[in-house]
């Protein structure tokens, strides 16, 4: 149930966190679910952070952008398999806010810590359960 991602896409999402530092970056991971319930990322789509009131510690992706990405993914025979964002000067761990605001059960939430404009650690968390009883599971990222 790992998240598999090509090195160039992995580097792209980490670089995005460096570009937007000290603000949080965010984006969508598009790809496929494989037979073993793993996720294979085929593209990483950069999004704007609409939380202009507090971009250094919050992110939000415009639903309109999600609609467009979901539609384009479907046309390519793909799905939204996850999301990514950065934690400027903070650990690459899912925060209570991350969990409270996560609603895409079965999808991966990838978090990169960025310190002094340098991407450090990238972790992946799989959202499980139901809205009333949800949790994140730590998952391996396979970079190939």
């Amino acid at each position: 149930m790992a998240l598999r991602i090509q090195k160039k896409l992995f580097e792209l999402l980490r670089l995005h966190g460096e570009e937007t530092y000290p603000h949080e970056c965010c984006g969508v991971l598009v790809g496929e679910f494989d037979e073993a319930d793993g996720r294979v990322v085929r593209s990483a789509v950069k999004c704007g952070n609409t939380r202009t009131d507090s971009p250094e510690n919050r992110y939000h992706i415009s639903p309109a952008e999600l609609v467009r990405i979901q539609r384009e993914a479907a046309l390519a025979g793909h799905d939204i398999v996850g999301f990514y964002h950065s934690h400027p000067d903070c650990a690459a761990e899912a925060s209570s806010t991350d969990l409270a605001e996560a609603h895409w059960t079965g999808c991966s939430y990838v978090i990169t810590s960025v310190e002094n404009r340098k991407a450090v650690v990238t972790n992946s968390f799989l959202l499980r359960g139901t809205e009333e009883a949800k949790h994140f599971d730590d998952k391996v990222i396979e970079v190939y």
């Binding site: 539609r71 605001e101 999808c107």
Partner: protein
């Protein structure tokens, strides 16, 4: 008049794994009601107990958020696509 409703990944366990469902309706509200009539397990994931859409559920008619149209009463035709998108947010 069938209207296509696109189902996001987290809600597909409640639509028999279908990524799109066709419903017959004249309005977006009617389309959503017919959708949950076809797939009753979906109801509590879309609607709160008061019958309103859950706060984190966004519904779009083509490229427009129905909150900024006529909400449930927004007219829909067979050339339209309704997309359900849960919100994506978080932070440190």
């Amino acid at each position: 008049m069938p209207i296509k409703v696109l189902i996001p990944t987290p809600l597909r366990p409640y639509t028999g794994k279908q990524s799109a469902v066709e419903v017959t309706a004249q309005t977006v509200g009617e389309a959503l009601n017919n959708l949950v009539a076809q797939h009753p397990d979906l109801r509590k994931h879309l609607f709160a107990e008061d019958g309103k859409l859950r706060s984190f559920v966004n519904v779009y008619l083509n490229d427009e958020d129905i909150r900024y149209l006529a909400k449930d009463a927004t007219p829909a035709t067979e050339s339209d696509t309704i997309t359900i998108v849960p919100s994506v947010a978080g932070g440190v």
